[in-house]
Symmetry: D2
Subunit: 186 residues, 4 copies
């Protein structure tokens, strides 16, 4: 287990899933604020905060917009340059993280359909979600074996998420892929 902050735009009514035209300074402040708040609970419990992954629309904007990506990464680095940043590989957020000198964990999705070119089938289109556990598990193992991913995401609100998680973990372990937090020793 590794604990991570999942900061979002300040959009409670929309669960952070709607893009907000916030300036880079506003994004940096919102991310810093949310990391700090969670880190206080970690500190009170004596556990470490290990990583940051932007949530919802902020994650999407940070993949496509360089100034948003940079604002997120500057917030993470200002709080703790040892934190890992999760990102989809090949987009603006990964580039910004490398430019900031952050440790990067590349994320793949067990429960999202992929197009032949590796991009995700957009939500709302047929095949966007993989809800059959064996299908998600097979995709997770393929992502892990490809060498291109350090983290496999299963969304907690995908129908049947608990069964998918169990199948993914079993498939990874059966396939010889150890499951552990980023940066921990085998």
């Amino acid at each position: 287990l590794g604990i991570g902050a999942h900061p979002s735009y300040p959009d409670l009514a929309g669960f952070g899933r709607r893009a907000l035209a916030a300036s880079p300074d506003e994004v940096r402040a919102d991310v810093l604020y949310q990391i700090g708040a969670l880190a206080a609970f970690c500190r009170a419990r004596g556990v470490a905060l290990r990583h940051v992954k932007p949530h919802g629309a902020l994650y999407n904007e940070a993949q496509r917009d360089a100034s948003t990506a940079d604002a997120v990464c500057r917030a993470v680095r200002a709080f703790d340059p040892e934190l890992w940043l999760l990102t989809i590989p090949g987009h603006a957020l990964e580039r910004a993280a490398h430019a900031c000198g952050l440790r990067v964990a590349r994320e793949g999705f067990a429960d999202r359909g992929r197009r032949p070119d590796g991009t995700l089938v957009p939500r709302g289109e047929p095949g966007a979600l993989l809800t059959r556990p064996e299908e998600a598990a097979a995709q997770a193992l393929a992502l892990a074996r490809s060498g291109g991913f350090d983290s496999i995401c299963v969304h907690s609100d995908t129908p049947g998420a608990a069964a998918i998680l169990r199948a993914v973990r079993e498939a990874l372990e059966a396939g010889g892929v150890p499951v552990r937090p980023f940066g921990s020793q085998p």
Copy 2:
């Protein structure tokens, strides 16, 4: 200058000035959350967070209710046992802070009228606010010389606050009372 957190009940519409029947666990969580959020900005700037003083209704409730006072102090200690806690002397919050082993700074008010027994004239009654700078300055000096206070408060929303502050500082310095953050060396 010393930077402090000023955590309150989650009552944005009432500016934290209305008591909320929150449980001790809720108070502890709200205080921890707010200290953590501010501390993240301090960390990003490379400056220290020095003290905590509950705001508005939370300050009042923590003076009179032992379980609220205890919840505030446990949050402060869990975040950083070296932080100073500001409190009005002689009430529940001071007792809880000593019981928690926190450093205590006793607060007096330059701009609030006092009764003969030392308690404040309630807001809304005649004499509750001292708005003449020389009057506030004289009271500040008397409080400082009494030996019973470590911190003198001037409310930023008292009419003429800037002039009062200037008069208070001049009176303290002219009276031989050094002005510096809690716990700093002379």
Copy 3:
């Protein structure tokens, strides 16, 4: 079916279940605001708003505090003097509603344990909730037949609420008690 507003203190984080030390003017404004917002959606749908029942801590405070009760009733009357007000009989809110000239619907609880004197067993004590459908149904029928109640509440967050509701309705109809909105013709 009758549509009613369920206004509360502005305490999103606590789901309106924590008392807030709001002034009567603040309570009146919050209730008016929330009734107005819901009424706009009724108007857009072409349906009538029929009643108001304060939610959570505001309901409790309005039962015991005359000035809160009066503030709630003045808000309801100012918006529409034809609206029904729901209240537990025998407390401050019923008295305020009569003083304001509002139509009053007296509420009983199918799913809450009652003491011999008719008051509710407080939440958190044994017997506070009646979760067996037949038990709740029997209590609902007894309340309805007593002639002291116009409305029977089943809390949507009582475990098994849907089964309780079904049992209550069947018991009322089998017992010859018609189920319909306040003030509608038989």
Copy 4:
């Protein structure tokens, strides 16, 4: 005097001045909610709600995006088809209002610099704000005499707004342009 609702995106932290990627249904609901809440206070005071003008980023989005404009207009019409809608002429919101059958009041700005083609100098650029009262007053009179505008806006947060307002009113009256609410009789 005429009272109007000024609904915005639910962005308290940004004072409604940041665009939010809300769906048309979300925009319609937010606008309806805010009109309803204000209308409740009008009703309690016995005064009429006369018009609606979207605030900040929602106004800007409704000028350029047809589906946002349509959502705003459907909310206004659903609440009360007699309400006036304020809009900058020549953009999506005016077209949507006409399509919805709403009464339209065309708005010009006394205190904003205009380019030769009639569009506003963007905030942040030189000449965006007219802060000299006589300059704003002259522009207001020119706008009113052009026949293209029914309403002249002076922003309450433009420096010197009160003096500008006074100058604008005097110039309009001296110029023979009566100042009164939309749709009222001379």
